[in-house]
Homo-oligomer: 340 residues x 2
């Protein structure tokens, strides 16, 4: 197995090191090759994502990413040039974001106990408003206009909805909630709703429901226990998964995968958190999200037992926390011992 | 003063009746004319919003709306045909949504106390993805595509941002947070960001910050205390205000105004909640959101003292609640006595 590692900027390198430590403990011998991409390289060389690097990444089984970016890079440069380019070039159409309130942790919601929140968001990753189809006229004048276009195909919508149903079939509650805004975005919403209804017929034993995105954003706070699998479009998924991270104790623990289920191209696994320049280099970033990203990666690559081991070790680690400050490397050490 | 009243469907009539009761107590003699619009009329006559009714509504100083809709109306019919048509035809470009954790109430967030959350969202109301600019091809085939286009003008963006700054100037903390997704929606995001920076220069004593919508959705759960005035686009505002309603104890208490600050056309005031068919006709809907909508209406029409009186009476009402079931009419009676 060959993994490309993009440690990136800020705390990226620190947390990825612990992810790799745990990977080596649970499945020794995986080949991990570092690639230098992100804000630091951009500042040094002006390069964001050379085609040659992309072609090399394409040769790997998966990509593990730490975090890229710093506040001095103009908005969009690394996002469009690197992160979204990876998602689009490698057709990573399932943006997978599990949300659990882990044992030993407490989220911001009064009266919600560990174990009660346990859902996964299947966010479409290659279409919608992320397609980059926008433009403008008369920039800088009173007549200026700007547009952004959401592009949705039956092809793209159907495959991600089918993926969500398949995942629900492997879970205890077997329920899929589709989230959109069909009452306002009637064109895209109609395509999503009709496709959802048709795919649902292939999965008669999976329960379904539909919610508008504004209602879902509300329920994610007032009743996140109700969700099992959520399937939604690219931008709605971006917003909902950050609410999900918030109610499950913050992005410090949230892992994600940008997955191409066909494996025609490598999938990418990364913590939801950013490069956190304010705490970089101090050895105090929580590597749990990076470690859980390794578990998602192993699951995707056909090593579910190793993935479960990591999740159980993380549960033990989090249950044992006493409120002491986190030492990044010590977390990785403890989890490694548990999975070895 | 002439108010058009669209009680609408479900609990709409029940809560609006209490709003009008309170209005009459605080400012006797306002002329209130009922208009029959909503799901019931649509089912009865097939009509959504005849032009003749629109022309009559245009003659009023403001519109008070209860709630429209029921689950049997196809998605989009009443939204696009009535609610959004009102916003667009009457150029209600400020969609105003105050969010407070009221005295005597408790939201879902552990450790957040009444009074600590107090912000207002200024949501753009006439542009963006709500413009209805979308389409599709090859419907019902594997080749189907659907688009939704977000339309943004300097005109529209500038006026709503300026309104947000003006409102911040009347508040204690004097801070405006602009929310967008400039790192992905670079065209619209660029227009919003440049306009925000330029308008900010006219208000040197107002503090500013920018957040991506996903981060804002998270902070609205983890730290809603940080916000004072939020200005954002139409769809982001839709989602964020439902999170805001959730963290302040639910949409039962949330009021909103679709405001045309120029007063060239009437503005509309309505509870954020829907028609709630499940509890309609039982006299147990909470009319507080409708009553607070009347306060927003009075504020807009130049009666700030009466608006404050209503808000104080609502604070007293909510502080006095003991967990007994709500009786809609009794709430209106108590608040009316307090404001008279
Ligand atoms: C950095 C940005 C492009 C990205 C997104 O919007 O998808 C991030 O917010 C995420 O959720 O992975
Ligand atoms: C009913 C719908 C059109 C509306 C919107 O999306 O604006 C509602 O959700 C709201 O927030 O007022």
């Amino acid at each position: 197995m060959r993994i490309a590692v993009v440690a990136g900027d800020g705390i990226g390198a620190e947390v990825v090191a612990e992810g790799l430590k745990v990977l080596d403990a649970v499945l020794p011998g995986v080949e991990a090759t570092p690639y230098d991409l992100g804000a630091a390289r951009y500042h040094r060389t002006g390069e964001v994502f050379p085609d040659s690097v992309r072609d090399e990444l394409a040769q790997h089984d998966a990509i593990l990413l730490g975090a890229v970016g710093d506040p001095t890079v103009p908005p969009g440069v690394l996002e469009r040039g690197l992160l979204l380019k990876l998602r689009f070039d490698f057709d990573q159409y399932v943006n997978l974001r599990p949300s659990r309130l882990w044992p030993g942790t407490s989220g911001p919601l009064a009266g919600v106990k560990p174990g009660e929140i346990d859902f996964v968001v299947v966010r479409e990753g290659t279409e919608g408003l992320y397609a980059g189809a926008g433009g403008g006229l008369h920039r800088g004048t009173p007549a200026e206009i700007a547009t952004e276009e959401s592009l949705n195909t039956r092809h793209g919508v159907e495959r991600v909805i089918r993926d969500a149903f398949a995942r629900a079939g492997n879970r205890a509650r077997r329920k899929v909630t589709m989230v959109h805004k069909t009452n306002v975005l009637t064109h895209a919403g109609g395509l999503w709703a009709r496709t959802f209804a048709e795919v649902a017929e292939e999965f008669p034993d999976i329960a379904t429901e539909y919610q508008h995105v504004d209602a879902a954003a509300m329920f994610m706070v007032t009743n996140p226990q109700r969700y099992d699998v959520i399937v939604t479009d690219n931008l709605f998924g971006d917003i909902l998964t950050d609410i999900a991270a918030a109610v499950t104790g913050g992005i410090g623990l949230a892992a994600s995968g940008c997955i191409n289920p066909t494996r025609a191209y490598p999938s990418m696994f990364e913590p939801v958190h950013g490069s956190a320049p304010d705490i970089a280099g101090q050895g105090k970033a929580d590597p749990v999200a990076a470690i859980l990203s390794v578990a998602l990666c192993l699951e995707h690559l056909g090593h579910p037992d190793e993935a479960r081991k990591i999740e159980e070790a993380v549960a033990t680690e989090l249950s044992g926390r006493t409120g002491e400050p986190i030492r990044t490397a010590e977390v990785g050490d403890r989890v490694s011992v548990l999975v070895a």
